[in-house]
Amino acid sequence: MQANAESKSELNINDKIAKSKNQSTTIRGLKLLLQSKTGTIGFIIVICVVLVAIFAGVLAPHDPALNNLTATLKPPAWLDGGSWNYVLGTDNLGRDVLSRIIVGTRVSLLVGVFSVVLAGLIGLIIGIVAGYYGGIVDNILMRLVDSFLAIPSILFILVVLAVFEPSLLVLIIVIGLTNWVTYARIVRGEVLSIKEREYVKASKSIGTKSSEIMLVHVLPNIVSSFIVISALSVATTIILEASLSFLGLGIQPPDVSWGAMLTDGRNYLATNWWLATFPGLAITITVLGIIFLGDWLRDVLDPKTQVNQKGGAK
Protein backbone atom coordinates (compact mmCIF):
# COMPACT_ATOMS: atom_id res chain seq x y z
CA MET A 1 0.00 0.00 0.00
CA GLN A 2 2.80 2.31 0.95
CA ALA A 3 4.46 1.46 -2.28
CA ASN A 4 1.34 2.45 -4.17
CA ALA A 5 1.17 5.83 -2.50
CA GLU A 6 4.75 6.42 -3.49
CA SER A 7 4.12 5.74 -7.12
CA LYS A 8 1.08 8.05 -7.03
CA SER A 9 3.16 10.94 -5.79
CA GLU A 10 5.67 10.20 -8.52
CA LEU A 11 2.89 10.49 -11.05
CA ASN A 12 1.80 13.83 -9.67
CA ILE A 13 5.23 15.33 -10.02
CA ASN A 14 5.39 14.16 -13.57
CA ASP A 15 1.96 15.60 -14.21
CA LYS A 16 3.17 19.04 -13.30
CA ILE A 17 6.27 18.84 -15.43
CA ALA A 18 4.40 17.60 -18.41
CA LYS A 19 1.37 19.89 -18.31
CA SER A 20 3.05 22.28 -20.67
CA LYS A 21 3.97 19.54 -23.05
CA ASN A 22 0.73 18.34 -24.50
CA GLN A 23 1.11 20.40 -27.63
CA SER A 24 1.55 19.59 -31.25
CA THR A 25 4.97 19.02 -32.76
CA THR A 26 4.70 22.08 -35.00
CA ILE A 27 4.00 24.45 -32.14
CA ARG A 28 6.73 22.84 -30.07
CA GLY A 29 9.16 23.19 -32.96
CA LEU A 30 8.37 26.86 -33.45
CA LYS A 31 8.70 27.56 -29.74
CA LEU A 32 12.07 25.87 -29.70
CA LEU A 33 13.08 27.92 -32.72
CA LEU A 34 12.24 31.21 -31.02
CA GLN A 35 13.99 30.05 -27.89
CA SER A 36 17.34 29.40 -29.51
CA LYS A 37 19.12 32.43 -30.89
CA THR A 38 21.29 30.44 -33.24
CA GLY A 39 18.23 28.57 -34.49
CA THR A 40 16.47 31.81 -35.29
CA ILE A 41 19.53 33.24 -37.04
CA GLY A 42 20.02 30.04 -39.03
CA PHE A 43 16.38 29.98 -40.00
CA ILE A 44 16.46 33.60 -41.22
CA ILE A 45 19.69 33.06 -43.17
CA VAL A 46 18.43 29.93 -44.89
CA ILE A 47 15.09 31.51 -45.78
CA CYS A 48 16.92 34.55 -47.22
CA VAL A 49 19.31 32.42 -49.24
CA VAL A 50 16.47 30.32 -50.61
CA LEU A 51 14.50 33.43 -51.54
CA VAL A 52 17.55 34.90 -53.27
CA ALA A 53 17.98 31.70 -55.22
CA ILE A 54 14.35 31.69 -56.32
CA PHE A 55 14.16 35.36 -57.27
CA ALA A 56 17.74 35.66 -58.54
CA GLY A 57 16.59 36.87 -61.95
CA VAL A 58 14.67 39.80 -60.45
CA LEU A 59 17.18 40.68 -57.73
CA ALA A 60 20.32 40.80 -59.82
CA PRO A 61 20.98 44.41 -60.89
CA HIS A 62 23.04 43.40 -63.94
CA ASP A 63 23.26 40.47 -66.30
CA PRO A 64 25.82 38.24 -64.53
CA ALA A 65 27.37 37.17 -67.81
CA LEU A 66 27.56 40.61 -69.39
CA ASN A 67 31.11 41.76 -70.06
CA ASN A 68 31.86 45.43 -69.68
CA LEU A 69 35.43 46.02 -70.70
CA THR A 70 35.21 49.70 -69.86
CA ALA A 71 34.70 48.87 -66.19
CA THR A 72 36.98 45.93 -65.34
CA LEU A 73 38.23 45.20 -61.83
CA LYS A 74 36.27 47.99 -60.22
CA PRO A 75 36.50 47.94 -56.41
CA PRO A 76 33.40 47.82 -54.20
CA ALA A 77 31.35 51.00 -53.93
CA TRP A 78 32.76 52.21 -50.60
CA LEU A 79 36.35 52.16 -51.78
CA ASP A 80 38.17 54.71 -53.90
CA GLY A 81 37.23 54.31 -57.53
CA GLY A 82 34.13 52.26 -56.78
CA SER A 83 30.66 53.22 -57.92
CA TRP A 84 27.23 52.35 -56.59
CA ASN A 85 26.41 50.96 -60.00
CA TYR A 86 28.61 47.98 -59.08
CA VAL A 87 28.09 47.64 -55.33
CA LEU A 88 30.56 44.80 -54.80
CA GLY A 89 32.81 45.77 -57.68
CA THR A 90 33.47 44.01 -60.99
CA ASP A 91 35.75 41.22 -62.11
CA ASN A 92 38.44 41.06 -64.77
CA LEU A 93 35.83 41.05 -67.53
CA GLY A 94 33.81 43.83 -66.00
CA ARG A 95 31.01 41.57 -64.78
CA ASP A 96 29.10 42.69 -61.70
CA VAL A 97 30.22 40.66 -58.65
CA LEU A 98 26.96 41.18 -56.74
CA SER A 99 24.82 39.94 -59.63
CA ARG A 100 27.06 36.95 -60.08
CA ILE A 101 26.79 36.07 -56.40
CA ILE A 102 23.01 36.40 -56.51
CA VAL A 103 22.65 34.21 -59.56
CA GLY A 104 25.36 31.82 -58.34
CA THR A 105 23.24 31.10 -55.26
CA ARG A 106 21.10 28.85 -57.38
CA VAL A 107 23.78 26.48 -58.54
CA SER A 108 25.65 26.39 -55.25
CA LEU A 109 22.53 25.74 -53.23
CA LEU A 110 21.18 23.13 -55.63
CA VAL A 111 24.48 21.28 -55.83
CA GLY A 112 25.19 21.65 -52.12
CA VAL A 113 21.79 20.56 -50.87
CA PHE A 114 20.75 17.93 -53.37
CA SER A 115 24.01 16.07 -53.61
CA VAL A 116 24.06 15.92 -49.81
CA VAL A 117 20.50 14.60 -49.85
CA LEU A 118 21.45 11.99 -52.43
CA ALA A 119 24.65 10.97 -50.65
CA GLY A 120 22.82 10.94 -47.32
CA LEU A 121 20.04 8.69 -48.60
CA ILE A 122 22.39 6.14 -50.14
CA GLY A 123 24.70 6.23 -47.11
CA LEU A 124 21.80 5.95 -44.71
CA ILE A 125 20.30 2.90 -46.39
CA ILE A 126 23.61 1.08 -46.88
CA GLY A 127 24.82 2.01 -43.40
CA ILE A 128 21.66 0.82 -41.68
CA VAL A 129 21.49 -2.43 -43.63
CA ALA A 130 25.18 -3.20 -43.08
CA GLY A 131 25.09 -2.33 -39.40
CA TYR A 132 21.83 -4.06 -38.65
CA TYR A 133 22.37 -7.36 -40.42
CA GLY A 134 26.09 -7.56 -39.74
CA GLY A 135 28.00 -10.67 -40.77
CA ILE A 136 28.48 -11.27 -44.45
CA VAL A 137 26.16 -8.45 -45.58
CA ASP A 138 28.15 -6.02 -43.50
CA ASN A 139 31.41 -7.39 -44.82
CA ILE A 140 30.42 -7.07 -48.46
CA LEU A 141 28.97 -3.58 -48.10
CA MET A 142 31.85 -2.27 -46.04
CA ARG A 143 34.45 -3.64 -48.44
CA LEU A 144 32.53 -1.82 -51.16
CA VAL A 145 32.74 1.34 -49.07
CA ASP A 146 36.45 0.76 -48.52
CA SER A 147 37.10 0.38 -52.22
CA PHE A 148 35.19 3.60 -52.87
CA LEU A 149 37.30 5.32 -50.24
CA ALA A 150 40.43 3.98 -51.87
CA ILE A 151 39.68 5.73 -55.16
CA PRO A 152 40.50 9.43 -54.95
CA SER A 153 37.11 11.10 -55.29
CA ILE A 154 38.41 13.80 -57.61
CA LEU A 155 39.72 11.12 -59.96
CA PHE A 156 36.38 9.33 -59.95
CA ILE A 157 34.53 12.58 -60.63
CA LEU A 158 36.95 13.46 -63.41
CA VAL A 159 36.34 10.15 -65.13
CA VAL A 160 32.58 10.47 -64.90
CA LEU A 161 32.59 14.08 -66.03
CA ALA A 162 34.85 13.17 -68.92
CA VAL A 163 32.21 10.73 -70.11
CA PHE A 164 29.13 12.81 -69.41
CA GLU A 165 28.73 16.45 -70.26
CA PRO A 166 29.02 18.43 -67.02
CA SER A 167 25.60 19.81 -66.15
CA LEU A 168 23.87 20.65 -62.92
CA LEU A 169 22.17 17.25 -62.71
CA VAL A 170 25.33 15.30 -63.53
CA LEU A 171 27.24 17.31 -60.94
CA ILE A 172 24.69 16.59 -58.25
CA ILE A 173 24.64 12.89 -59.03
CA VAL A 174 28.36 12.49 -59.30
CA ILE A 175 29.10 14.37 -56.08
CA GLY A 176 26.35 12.44 -54.33
CA LEU A 177 27.79 9.15 -55.53
CA THR A 178 31.24 9.95 -54.20
CA ASN A 179 30.17 11.28 -50.82
CA TRP A 180 27.83 8.53 -49.65
CA VAL A 181 30.65 6.42 -48.26
CA THR A 182 31.30 8.73 -45.31
CA TYR A 183 27.65 8.56 -44.37
CA ALA A 184 27.57 4.80 -44.72
CA ARG A 185 30.54 4.47 -42.37
CA ILE A 186 29.20 6.80 -39.72
CA VAL A 187 25.65 5.47 -39.88
CA ARG A 188 26.87 1.89 -39.65
CA GLY A 189 28.84 2.72 -36.52
CA GLU A 190 25.80 4.30 -34.91
CA VAL A 191 23.58 1.38 -35.87
CA LEU A 192 26.05 -1.08 -34.37
CA SER A 193 25.61 0.56 -30.99
CA ILE A 194 21.86 1.04 -31.28
CA LYS A 195 21.02 -2.49 -32.36
CA GLU A 196 22.43 -3.77 -29.08
CA ARG A 197 20.01 -1.65 -27.04
CA GLU A 198 17.33 -3.55 -25.24
CA TYR A 199 14.47 -1.86 -27.05
CA VAL A 200 15.66 -3.41 -30.28
CA LYS A 201 15.89 -6.77 -28.55
CA ALA A 202 12.42 -6.18 -27.13
CA SER A 203 11.08 -5.49 -30.58
CA LYS A 204 12.72 -8.64 -31.93
CA SER A 205 11.25 -10.69 -29.12
CA ILE A 206 7.82 -9.31 -29.96
CA GLY A 207 8.27 -10.58 -33.48
CA THR A 208 8.56 -7.29 -35.36
CA LYS A 209 9.95 -7.58 -38.88
CA SER A 210 13.55 -6.50 -39.41
CA SER A 211 12.55 -3.81 -41.90
CA GLU A 212 10.17 -2.33 -39.39
CA ILE A 213 12.73 -2.42 -36.59
CA MET A 214 15.16 -0.53 -38.78
CA LEU A 215 12.55 2.07 -39.65
CA VAL A 216 10.91 2.53 -36.27
CA HIS A 217 13.67 1.85 -33.77
CA VAL A 218 17.00 2.34 -35.50
CA LEU A 219 16.43 5.22 -37.91
CA PRO A 220 14.90 7.74 -35.47
CA ASN A 221 17.73 7.18 -33.07
CA ILE A 222 20.52 7.94 -35.52
CA VAL A 223 18.78 10.93 -37.06
CA SER A 224 20.42 13.55 -34.85
CA SER A 225 24.00 12.66 -35.68
CA PHE A 226 22.97 12.24 -39.30
CA ILE A 227 21.59 15.78 -39.46
CA VAL A 228 24.73 17.25 -37.95
CA ILE A 229 27.01 15.56 -40.50
CA SER A 230 24.70 16.53 -43.35
CA ALA A 231 24.70 20.19 -42.39
CA LEU A 232 28.47 20.18 -42.23
CA SER A 233 28.90 18.42 -45.52
CA VAL A 234 26.77 20.96 -47.40
CA ALA A 235 29.78 23.22 -46.85
CA THR A 236 32.36 20.76 -48.16
CA THR A 237 30.15 20.02 -51.14
CA ILE A 238 29.98 23.68 -52.16
CA ILE A 239 33.77 23.76 -51.92
CA LEU A 240 34.06 20.53 -53.90
CA GLU A 241 31.96 22.09 -56.61
CA ALA A 242 34.40 25.01 -56.54
CA SER A 243 37.41 22.78 -57.03
CA LEU A 244 35.66 21.06 -59.93
CA SER A 245 35.07 24.44 -61.49
CA PHE A 246 38.75 25.13 -60.99
CA LEU A 247 39.56 22.05 -63.03
CA GLY A 248 37.14 23.25 -65.64
CA LEU A 249 34.70 20.42 -64.94
CA GLY A 250 32.21 22.20 -62.76
CA ILE A 251 29.44 24.45 -63.89
CA GLN A 252 30.31 25.74 -67.34
CA PRO A 253 30.18 29.43 -68.29
CA PRO A 254 28.00 31.36 -68.85
CA ASP A 255 26.40 29.68 -65.79
CA VAL A 256 27.94 30.82 -62.57
CA SER A 257 28.48 29.34 -59.12
CA TRP A 258 30.15 30.62 -55.96
CA GLY A 259 32.84 28.03 -56.31
CA ALA A 260 33.65 29.12 -59.85
CA MET A 261 33.85 32.72 -58.68
CA LEU A 262 36.24 31.78 -55.91
CA THR A 263 38.44 30.05 -58.44
CA ASP A 264 38.39 32.97 -60.84
CA GLY A 265 39.17 35.39 -58.05
CA ARG A 266 42.11 33.38 -56.82
CA ASN A 267 44.49 34.95 -59.36
CA TYR A 268 43.56 38.44 -58.25
CA LEU A 269 43.65 37.84 -54.52
CA ALA A 270 46.66 40.10 -53.93
CA THR A 271 45.43 42.99 -56.02
CA ASN A 272 41.65 42.74 -56.26
CA TRP A 273 40.61 40.93 -53.13
CA TRP A 274 36.85 41.43 -53.58
CA LEU A 275 36.62 38.93 -56.40
CA ALA A 276 37.18 35.94 -54.11
CA THR A 277 36.19 37.44 -50.79
CA PHE A 278 32.51 38.09 -51.45
CA PRO A 279 31.60 34.70 -52.88
CA GLY A 280 33.62 33.21 -50.02
CA LEU A 281 31.56 35.21 -47.55
CA ALA A 282 28.38 34.02 -49.26
CA ILE A 283 29.50 30.41 -48.79
CA THR A 284 30.44 31.00 -45.15
CA ILE A 285 27.16 32.67 -44.25
CA THR A 286 25.04 30.07 -46.02
CA VAL A 287 26.88 27.17 -44.46
CA LEU A 288 26.66 28.76 -41.02
CA GLY A 289 22.92 29.23 -41.51
CA ILE A 290 22.47 25.58 -42.52
CA ILE A 291 24.49 24.36 -39.56
CA PHE A 292 22.49 26.49 -37.13
CA LEU A 293 19.27 25.26 -38.64
CA GLY A 294 20.55 21.69 -38.40
CA ASP A 295 21.18 22.13 -34.68
CA TRP A 296 17.68 23.38 -34.18
CA LEU A 297 16.23 20.53 -36.20
CA ARG A 298 18.15 18.05 -34.07
CA ASP A 299 16.69 19.59 -30.93
CA VAL A 300 13.17 19.45 -32.33
CA LEU A 301 13.54 15.79 -33.22
CA ASP A 302 14.78 14.91 -29.75
CA PRO A 303 11.83 14.52 -27.41
CA LYS A 304 14.11 15.21 -24.47
CA THR A 305 14.53 18.88 -25.40
CA GLN A 306 11.98 20.77 -23.43
CA VAL A 307 10.23 23.97 -24.26
CA ASN A 308 11.22 26.24 -21.42
CA GLN A 309 8.56 28.72 -20.42
CA LYS A 310 11.13 31.31 -19.41
CA GLY A 311 13.03 30.97 -22.67
CA GLY A 312 16.29 29.24 -23.46
CA ALA A 313 16.27 25.62 -24.52
CA LYS A 314 17.39 23.02 -22.04
Binding site: E10, A202, I206, G207, H217, N221
Partner: protein
Protein backbone atom coordinates in the same frame (compact mmCIF):
# COMPACT_ATOMS: atom_id res chain seq x y z
CA UNK B 1 17.04 -35.93 -14.65
CA UNK B 2 17.03 -38.33 -17.51
CA UNK B 3 15.25 -37.63 -20.73
CA UNK B 4 12.92 -40.58 -20.22
CA UNK B 5 11.66 -39.19 -16.95
CA UNK B 6 10.98 -35.84 -18.52
CA UNK B 7 8.94 -37.37 -21.31
CA UNK B 8 6.71 -39.18 -18.86
CA UNK B 9 5.86 -35.93 -17.16
CA UNK B 10 5.28 -34.03 -20.39
CA UNK B 11 1.54 -33.52 -20.06
CA UNK B 12 1.28 -30.62 -17.69
CA UNK B 13 4.47 -28.92 -18.73
CA UNK B 14 4.38 -25.66 -20.59
CA UNK B 15 8.07 -25.63 -21.36
CA UNK B 16 10.77 -28.25 -21.29
CA UNK B 17 14.40 -27.62 -21.98
CA UNK B 18 16.59 -30.61 -22.72
CA UNK B 19 20.34 -30.51 -23.01
CA UNK B 20 20.36 -26.87 -24.07
CA UNK B 21 23.79 -25.64 -25.07
CA UNK B 22 25.03 -22.31 -26.26
CA UNK B 23 28.69 -22.07 -27.15
CA UNK B 24 30.11 -18.78 -28.35
CA UNK B 25 33.19 -18.92 -30.56
CA UNK B 26 35.75 -16.65 -28.88
CA UNK B 27 38.66 -16.86 -31.25
CA UNK B 28 39.02 -18.43 -34.63
CA UNK B 29 41.99 -19.42 -36.74
CA UNK B 30 42.54 -17.61 -40.02
CA UNK B 31 40.78 -20.48 -41.76
CA UNK B 32 37.61 -19.76 -39.85
CA UNK B 33 37.97 -22.79 -37.62
CA UNK B 34 36.95 -22.20 -34.04
CA UNK B 35 39.91 -22.33 -31.69
CA UNK B 36 38.22 -21.51 -28.41
CA UNK B 37 34.62 -21.54 -27.33
CA UNK B 38 32.92 -19.99 -24.39
CA UNK B 39 30.41 -22.46 -23.05
CA UNK B 40 27.86 -19.98 -21.76
CA UNK B 41 25.17 -22.59 -21.38
CA UNK B 42 26.43 -26.14 -21.31
CA UNK B 43 23.69 -28.71 -21.37
CA UNK B 44 20.90 -27.71 -19.06
CA UNK B 45 17.58 -29.39 -18.42
CA UNK B 46 14.67 -27.41 -17.08
CA UNK B 47 10.94 -27.86 -16.98
CA UNK B 48 8.19 -25.43 -16.30
CA UNK B 49 4.66 -26.18 -15.20
CA UNK B 50 1.73 -24.06 -16.26
CA UNK B 51 1.08 -21.14 -13.92
CA UNK B 52 4.22 -21.46 -11.86
CA UNK B 53 7.26 -19.24 -11.55
CA UNK B 54 10.65 -20.76 -12.03
CA UNK B 55 13.45 -18.66 -10.63
CA UNK B 56 16.91 -18.95 -12.10
CA UNK B 57 19.72 -17.64 -9.90
CA UNK B 58 23.44 -17.58 -10.22
CA UNK B 59 26.28 -15.12 -10.28
CA UNK B 60 27.12 -12.89 -13.26
CA UNK B 61 28.20 -14.83 -16.30
CA UNK B 62 26.70 -18.16 -15.27
CA UNK B 63 24.52 -18.24 -18.38
CA UNK B 64 21.13 -17.43 -16.89
CA UNK B 65 20.37 -14.53 -19.25
CA UNK B 66 21.71 -16.49 -22.21
CA UNK B 67 19.25 -19.24 -21.31
CA UNK B 68 16.41 -16.71 -21.34
CA UNK B 69 17.46 -15.27 -24.68
CA UNK B 70 17.85 -18.70 -26.21
CA UNK B 71 14.30 -19.70 -25.35
CA UNK B 72 13.04 -16.84 -27.50
CA UNK B 73 15.74 -17.62 -30.04
CA UNK B 74 17.09 -14.11 -29.75
CA UNK B 75 20.28 -16.14 -29.60
CA UNK B 76 20.30 -19.36 -31.61
CA UNK B 77 21.11 -22.34 -29.41
CA UNK B 78 24.05 -24.56 -30.32
CA UNK B 79 22.33 -27.76 -29.29
CA UNK B 80 19.36 -29.05 -27.39
CA UNK B 81 15.61 -28.94 -27.40
CA UNK B 82 13.24 -26.22 -26.25
CA UNK B 83 9.82 -27.78 -26.19
CA UNK B 84 7.04 -25.27 -25.77
CA UNK B 85 3.54 -26.76 -25.72
CA UNK B 86 4.79 -29.87 -27.46
CA UNK B 87 6.66 -28.05 -30.22
CA UNK B 88 10.43 -27.85 -30.45
CA UNK B 89 11.19 -24.16 -30.90
CA UNK B 90 14.71 -24.87 -32.11
CA UNK B 91 13.39 -26.63 -35.18
CA UNK B 92 10.75 -24.05 -36.11
CA UNK B 93 11.15 -21.94 -39.21
CA UNK B 94 11.65 -18.22 -38.72
CA UNK B 95 8.10 -17.54 -39.81
CA UNK B 96 6.54 -20.02 -37.44
CA UNK B 97 8.75 -18.75 -34.66
CA UNK B 98 7.35 -15.23 -35.19
CA UNK B 99 3.91 -16.69 -34.53
CA UNK B 100 5.06 -18.36 -31.32
CA UNK B 101 6.55 -15.10 -30.08
CA UNK B 102 3.00 -14.02 -29.37
CA UNK B 103 2.91 -16.57 -26.57
CA UNK B 104 6.33 -15.90 -25.09
CA UNK B 105 7.26 -12.39 -24.07
CA UNK B 106 10.14 -10.86 -22.23
CA UNK B 107 10.67 -8.21 -19.56
CA UNK B 108 14.10 -6.64 -19.60
CA UNK B 109 16.60 -5.67 -16.98
CA UNK B 110 17.34 -2.06 -17.75
CA UNK B 111 14.16 -0.01 -18.01
CA UNK B 112 16.23 2.88 -19.37
CA UNK B 113 17.38 1.08 -22.46
CA UNK B 114 14.42 -1.22 -23.01
CA UNK B 115 12.14 1.60 -24.16
CA UNK B 116 12.83 3.47 -27.38
CA UNK B 117 13.49 7.09 -26.33
CA UNK B 118 11.85 8.43 -29.49
CA UNK B 119 8.55 6.61 -29.09
CA UNK B 120 5.59 7.65 -27.03
CA UNK B 121 4.36 5.31 -24.32
CA UNK B 122 1.23 4.62 -26.32
CA UNK B 123 3.21 3.45 -29.34
CA UNK B 124 5.58 1.39 -27.21
CA UNK B 125 2.70 -0.56 -25.72
CA UNK B 126 0.84 -0.71 -29.03
CA UNK B 127 3.84 -2.16 -30.87
CA UNK B 128 3.15 -5.85 -30.14
CA UNK B 129 -0.55 -5.38 -30.87
CA UNK B 130 0.16 -3.72 -34.20
CA UNK B 131 2.87 -6.21 -35.14
CA UNK B 132 0.56 -9.15 -34.72
CA UNK B 133 -2.45 -7.30 -36.12
CA UNK B 134 -4.46 -7.82 -32.97
CA UNK B 135 -6.31 -4.53 -33.04
CA UNK B 136 -6.62 -1.29 -34.98
CA UNK B 137 -8.01 2.20 -34.50
CA UNK B 138 -10.38 2.63 -31.60
CA UNK B 139 -10.04 -0.98 -30.51
CA UNK B 140 -6.29 -0.62 -30.28
CA UNK B 141 -6.64 2.59 -28.31
CA UNK B 142 -8.95 0.97 -25.78
CA UNK B 143 -6.64 -1.99 -25.37
CA UNK B 144 -3.58 0.17 -24.82
CA UNK B 145 -5.33 2.37 -22.27
CA UNK B 146 -6.55 -0.69 -20.44
CA UNK B 147 -3.02 -2.10 -20.35
CA UNK B 148 -1.65 1.17 -19.02
CA UNK B 149 -4.16 1.06 -16.20
CA UNK B 150 -3.55 -2.62 -15.56
CA UNK B 151 0.08 -1.93 -14.71
CA UNK B 152 -0.88 0.89 -12.38
CA UNK B 153 -0.21 3.94 -14.51
CA UNK B 154 -2.60 6.72 -15.42
CA UNK B 155 -3.99 6.75 -18.94
CA UNK B 156 -3.16 10.44 -19.29
CA UNK B 157 0.49 9.42 -19.45
CA UNK B 158 0.08 7.67 -22.78
CA UNK B 159 1.28 10.58 -24.88
CA UNK B 160 4.52 11.07 -22.99
CA UNK B 161 8.00 9.95 -23.85
CA UNK B 162 9.95 7.43 -21.74
CA UNK B 163 12.45 9.97 -20.38
CA UNK B 164 9.63 11.62 -18.47
CA UNK B 165 9.24 8.57 -16.24
CA UNK B 166 11.10 7.12 -13.28
CA UNK B 167 12.76 3.72 -13.40
CA UNK B 168 9.83 1.99 -11.71
CA UNK B 169 7.31 3.56 -14.04
CA UNK B 170 9.39 2.65 -17.05
CA UNK B 171 9.51 -0.94 -15.88
CA UNK B 172 5.70 -0.85 -15.63
CA UNK B 173 5.57 0.29 -19.25
CA UNK B 174 7.85 -2.60 -20.18
CA UNK B 175 5.53 -4.97 -18.35
CA UNK B 176 2.49 -3.55 -20.12
CA UNK B 177 4.21 -4.22 -23.43
CA UNK B 178 5.01 -7.78 -22.36
CA UNK B 179 1.45 -8.64 -21.33
CA UNK B 180 -0.19 -6.88 -24.29
CA UNK B 181 -0.49 -10.05 -26.36
CA UNK B 182 -1.74 -12.12 -23.43
CA UNK B 183 1.25 -14.45 -23.59
CA UNK B 184 1.45 -17.80 -21.84
CA UNK B 185 5.04 -17.46 -20.76
CA UNK B 186 6.95 -14.37 -19.72
CA UNK B 187 10.71 -14.43 -19.32
CA UNK B 188 11.70 -11.82 -16.76
CA UNK B 189 15.38 -11.08 -17.28
CA UNK B 190 16.45 -9.50 -13.98
CA UNK B 191 13.50 -7.11 -14.09
CA UNK B 192 14.15 -5.54 -10.71
CA UNK B 193 17.92 -5.52 -10.39
CA UNK B 194 18.18 -2.00 -11.85
CA UNK B 195 15.58 -0.56 -9.47
CA UNK B 196 15.60 0.87 -5.97
CA UNK B 197 14.68 -1.60 -3.26
CA UNK B 198 11.37 0.15 -2.48
CA UNK B 199 10.39 0.06 -6.16
CA UNK B 200 11.52 -3.57 -6.48
CA UNK B 201 8.77 -4.64 -4.11
CA UNK B 202 6.14 -2.78 -6.14
CA UNK B 203 7.23 -4.38 -9.37
CA UNK B 204 7.38 -7.88 -7.85
CA UNK B 205 3.89 -7.43 -6.44
CA UNK B 206 2.65 -6.19 -9.78
CA UNK B 207 4.09 -9.29 -11.45
CA UNK B 208 2.38 -11.55 -8.91
CA UNK B 209 -0.94 -9.74 -9.42
CA UNK B 210 -0.68 -10.09 -13.17
CA UNK B 211 0.22 -13.75 -12.86
CA UNK B 212 -2.97 -14.40 -10.93
CA UNK B 213 -5.08 -12.25 -13.19
CA UNK B 214 -3.89 -13.55 -16.55
CA UNK B 215 -2.78 -17.04 -15.57
CA UNK B 216 0.83 -16.37 -16.56
CA UNK B 217 3.86 -18.60 -16.25
CA UNK B 218 7.12 -16.88 -15.43
CA UNK B 219 10.76 -17.61 -15.76
CA UNK B 220 12.32 -15.17 -13.34
CA UNK B 221 16.01 -14.64 -13.86
CA UNK B 222 17.82 -12.82 -11.09
CA UNK B 223 20.96 -12.60 -9.07
CA UNK B 224 19.39 -11.23 -5.92
CA UNK B 225 18.28 -14.17 -3.80
CA UNK B 226 15.59 -12.25 -1.86
CA UNK B 227 13.70 -11.12 -4.99
CA UNK B 228 13.87 -14.56 -6.57
CA UNK B 229 12.80 -16.20 -3.31
CA UNK B 230 9.84 -13.84 -3.00
CA UNK B 231 8.37 -14.48 -6.42
CA UNK B 232 9.34 -18.05 -7.37
CA UNK B 233 7.65 -21.39 -6.78
CA UNK B 234 10.69 -23.36 -7.83
CA UNK B 235 14.26 -22.23 -8.14
CA UNK B 236 17.09 -23.46 -10.33
CA UNK B 237 20.62 -22.52 -9.30
CA UNK B 238 23.06 -22.15 -12.15
CA UNK B 239 26.83 -22.26 -11.99
CA UNK B 240 29.07 -21.86 -15.03
CA UNK B 241 26.50 -22.82 -17.60
CA UNK B 242 25.02 -25.72 -15.68
CA UNK B 243 22.13 -26.25 -13.34
CA UNK B 244 23.56 -27.43 -10.02
CA UNK B 245 20.39 -27.58 -7.97
CA UNK B 246 16.72 -27.26 -8.74
CA UNK B 247 13.82 -27.70 -6.38
CA UNK B 248 10.89 -25.95 -4.76
CA UNK B 249 11.55 -22.70 -3.02
CA UNK B 250 10.89 -24.17 0.44
CA UNK B 251 13.22 -27.12 -0.05
CA UNK B 252 15.97 -25.00 -1.53
CA UNK B 253 16.20 -22.93 1.62
CA UNK B 254 15.41 -25.56 4.24
CA UNK B 255 17.14 -28.57 2.72
CA UNK B 256 19.96 -27.04 0.74
CA UNK B 257 21.96 -29.82 -0.86
CA UNK B 258 24.57 -28.18 -3.06
CA UNK B 259 27.49 -26.37 -1.41
CA UNK B 260 27.25 -23.59 -4.03
CA UNK B 261 23.59 -22.97 -3.23
CA UNK B 262 24.49 -22.90 0.43
CA UNK B 263 27.18 -20.36 -0.32
CA UNK B 264 24.78 -18.17 -2.28
CA UNK B 265 22.25 -18.24 0.52
CA UNK B 266 24.95 -17.52 3.09
CA UNK B 267 25.95 -14.45 1.13
CA UNK B 268 22.57 -12.79 1.70
CA UNK B 269 22.96 -10.38 4.60
CA UNK B 270 20.86 -11.15 7.65
CA UNK B 271 19.65 -8.00 9.37
CA UNK B 272 19.24 -9.48 12.88
CA UNK B 273 22.71 -9.82 14.50
CA UNK B 274 21.57 -12.53 16.93
CA UNK B 275 20.16 -14.66 14.17
CA UNK B 276 23.20 -13.96 12.04
CA UNK B 277 25.58 -15.34 14.67
CA UNK B 278 23.59 -18.52 14.96
CA UNK B 279 23.42 -19.18 11.24
CA UNK B 280 25.82 -21.68 9.81
CA UNK B 281 27.48 -20.21 6.75
CA UNK B 282 29.39 -21.55 3.79
CA UNK B 283 31.87 -19.06 2.48
CA UNK B 284 32.85 -19.41 -1.15
CA UNK B 285 36.46 -18.49 -1.74
CA UNK B 286 38.62 -18.08 -4.83
CA UNK B 287 37.42 -16.84 -8.19
CA UNK B 288 35.53 -18.78 -10.80
CA UNK B 289 37.82 -20.92 -12.97
CA UNK B 290 38.75 -19.85 -16.50
CA UNK B 291 35.58 -20.21 -18.52
CA UNK B 292 37.52 -21.01 -21.68
CA UNK B 293 39.36 -23.94 -20.06
CA UNK B 294 36.73 -25.62 -17.98
CA UNK B 295 37.90 -28.21 -15.44
CA UNK B 296 37.27 -31.83 -16.24
CA UNK B 297 35.49 -32.75 -13.02
CA UNK B 298 33.03 -30.73 -11.02
CA UNK B 299 33.14 -27.11 -12.11
CA UNK B 300 32.70 -25.96 -8.55
CA UNK B 301 35.64 -28.03 -7.28
CA UNK B 302 38.15 -25.16 -7.11
CA UNK B 303 35.88 -23.16 -4.82
CA UNK B 304 34.14 -25.91 -2.91
CA UNK B 305 35.05 -26.28 0.78
CA UNK B 306 34.08 -29.97 0.67
CA UNK B 307 35.79 -31.04 -2.57
CA UNK B 308 37.56 -34.40 -2.80
CA UNK B 309 39.72 -36.20 -5.36
CA UNK B 310 36.61 -37.69 -6.91
CA UNK B 311 35.15 -34.22 -7.54
CA UNK B 312 38.34 -33.25 -9.32
CA UNK B 313 38.09 -35.97 -11.94
CA UNK B 314 34.46 -37.03 -12.12
CA UNK B 315 31.74 -34.66 -13.14
CA UNK B 316 28.57 -35.02 -11.06
CA UNK B 317 25.28 -35.44 -12.93
CA UNK B 318 22.03 -33.74 -12.05
CA UNK B 319 20.14 -36.39 -10.05
CA UNK B 320 16.73 -36.38 -8.48
CA UNK B 321 17.56 -37.18 -4.88
CA UNK B 322 14.07 -36.70 -3.52
CA UNK B 323 10.79 -35.71 -5.11
CA UNK B 324 11.42 -32.73 -7.39
CA UNK B 325 14.78 -32.05 -5.82
CA UNK B 326 17.60 -32.23 -8.33
CA UNK B 327 21.23 -31.83 -7.32
CA UNK B 328 24.48 -32.16 -9.22
CA UNK B 329 26.92 -33.06 -6.44
CA UNK B 330 28.75 -36.22 -5.36
CA UNK B 331 28.41 -35.33 -1.71
CA UNK B 332 25.15 -33.42 -1.15
CA UNK B 333 24.89 -31.59 2.17
CA UNK B 334 22.60 -32.79 4.89
Amino acid sequence: MSVVEVKEKTNNYLLQIEGLKKHFPVSTTIFGKTKQTLKAVDGIDLYLKKGETLGIVGESGCGKSTTGNTILRLIEPTEGKIIFEGEDLVKLSKKKMQEIRKDIQMIFQDPFSSLNPRMKVFDIIAEPLRTHGVAKGKGLEDMVYELIETVGLDRSLAKRFPHEFSGGQRQRIGIARAIALKPKLIICDEPVSALDVSIQAQILNLLLDLQRKFDLTFIFIGHGIPAVKYISDRIAVMYMGEVVEMTTKEKLFSETKHPYTKGLISAVPIPDPKLRDKTERVIIENDIPDQLNLPEGCRFYSRCPFGTERCKVEKPKLNEISNEHYVACHYPLN
